[in-house]
Symmetry: C2
């Protein structure tokens, strides 16, 4: 019988460290600050924003929300982001996506300053994930996956990993991060034939496909660690993961729950990135002075 | 018995298309131009440069070589690259690496203009490989691997691929390009345990480890297509690949030779990138006028 590995202790551990770090920073008159930028009023964006604000408040990170009407022009939106780039009181910028259709994401992603881009929107940070550049910012969700694996002492070096799902926000960066942690990583997606066979070779299986309870025991190796990134809402309104936990419980050694797994760690990772950005920026400022 | 799939027909096919394309461009008074930038006199750089110049000449691409003393300063070198970025007659820039120790590659890579960066030095182009951005430039070597697979009609969608080697110039981008071609791709390197078992599951095996003839038949699935990226010089001065071709010949369906395989396609890919860059830039100029 596998063990449910919750996100809360991981998040608490990150939070506790950050509280101490921010205390030190504030004593030196350095106050980390996150600005969240949102166009329109998407419910799940607002829910994430609320969670992130609460987390930041606990830690001592200042937050500000910039809300824009859905009809803001591309140029005005760019000007707003550039203002935040220049504002030395702002250390981290999170921009909610997707955008309304008239906003060209492929241009915007280059505007956000790399060093304030705490959720890997700028391609320079995507490249950093591939290059294993520790100074950059990976996306918060795959970074949360790695935090969980690290917290629960899951060995990665020399192990087989599989990532199911190949998105730019989870699958691809997660695969690169697992490879960078020296695991032999297989990237699977909807084009994979005989997915259960491929996934069931993995010591560590990361699932991010967005299909409620699709992954059964045939996908899982005996003793595997399973990280379920999916957050789906069942027809009866229940929040479910991509993995059918009941069915794999006998086979796994550890599995993250949904809710209460990866999703409960992401805002802590976001806060960690803001504090890291703040330290990098104040160090750069010291060197420049 | 497997078939040796040579690079020459692939290179010839690319070259032939480019000759026609460049003829059309020149008739419109557009002349593609590649500048190769070199610090010092590394022999293999000069060999590559000579091959690239010859290829470009055949196609009708102008070339220029910028040679700098090994003691050029970081600032002077940056100024030279920025001059090339601004020079509208230059469409593609290839910068030979590694640099002398006093030159900071992590800064230089951001200087080269993304749209002239024909061998994926700028991280923006690395991110483009991950994002499957067809407007960008992947590194020439993994792009040559994909050209070979495409030329010989190797099916990738739904197939298993393995990449042995996880460098930023070959392994990682090759894995991403195979994934983007919808193959289920496993990334293996020196940390992989039981590498033969892992690799022998692959329908397509790309080897880029730089160890002469290390890969024997235990690494190869029956009927697999093997692409050998390695170029090593044996103790008796013979050029060898990473694969022990004789030993795997009975198992593979197709295998690239060394020499005469991937290496003979890279300069054609480089030329293809220069022509693509030239077209993109003249189109952008038209739109701006």
């Amino acid at each position: 019988m596998g063990v449910i590995i919750k996100g809360k202790p991981v998040a608490d551990s990150i939070t506790e460290n950050l509280i101490n770090e921010v205390k030190d920073l504030r004593q030196a008159d350095i106050v980390p600050k996150l600005v969240m930028v949102r166009i329109g009023n998407n419910e799940s964006d607002i829910a994430y924003q609320t969670g992130a604000m609460k987390k930041c408040q606990t830690i001592g990170i200042d937050t500000e929300v910039k809300e824009y009407d859905v009809d803001i022009s591309q140029d005005d939106f760019i000007a707003e982001i550039e203002k935040l780039n220049r504002d030395s009181s702002v250390n981290g910028i999170l921009i909610f996506r997707p955008f309304p259709k008239h906003i060209d994401e492929s241009e915007i992603k280059h505007i956000i300053a790399k060093e304030k881009d705490v959720d890997c929107f700028n391609p320079l940070n995507c490249a950093g994930v591939m290059e294993n550049d520790n100074a950059g910012f990976p996306p918060c969700t795959p970074a949360a996956v790695m935090e969980i694996l690290n917290y629960y002492n899951v060995q990665l070096a020399g192990k087989r990993a599989a990532v199911l799902g190949s998105s730019m926000v989870v699958g691809k960066p997660a695969a690169m991060m697992l490879l960078n942690a020296n695991s032999t990583t297989t990237m699977c997606d909807i084009f994979t034939k005989n997915n259960p066979e491929v996934c069931s070779k993995a010591d560590v299986l990361v699932v991010a496909i967005g299909k409620s309870r699709l992954i059964g025991s045939d996908y899982v190796k005996d003793g595997a660690v399973v990280v379920d990134v999916g957050i789906n809402v069942d027809k009866d309104g229940k929040v479910t993961g991509d993995v059918d936990t009941d069915k794999v419980m006998d086979k796994v050694s550890m599995i993250t729950p949904v809710p209460g797994g990866v999703g409960s760690v992401t805002t802590s990772v976001l806060a960690k990135h803001v504090v890291k950005a703040c330290k990098q920026q104040s160090q750069a400022k010291c060197l420049a002075d």
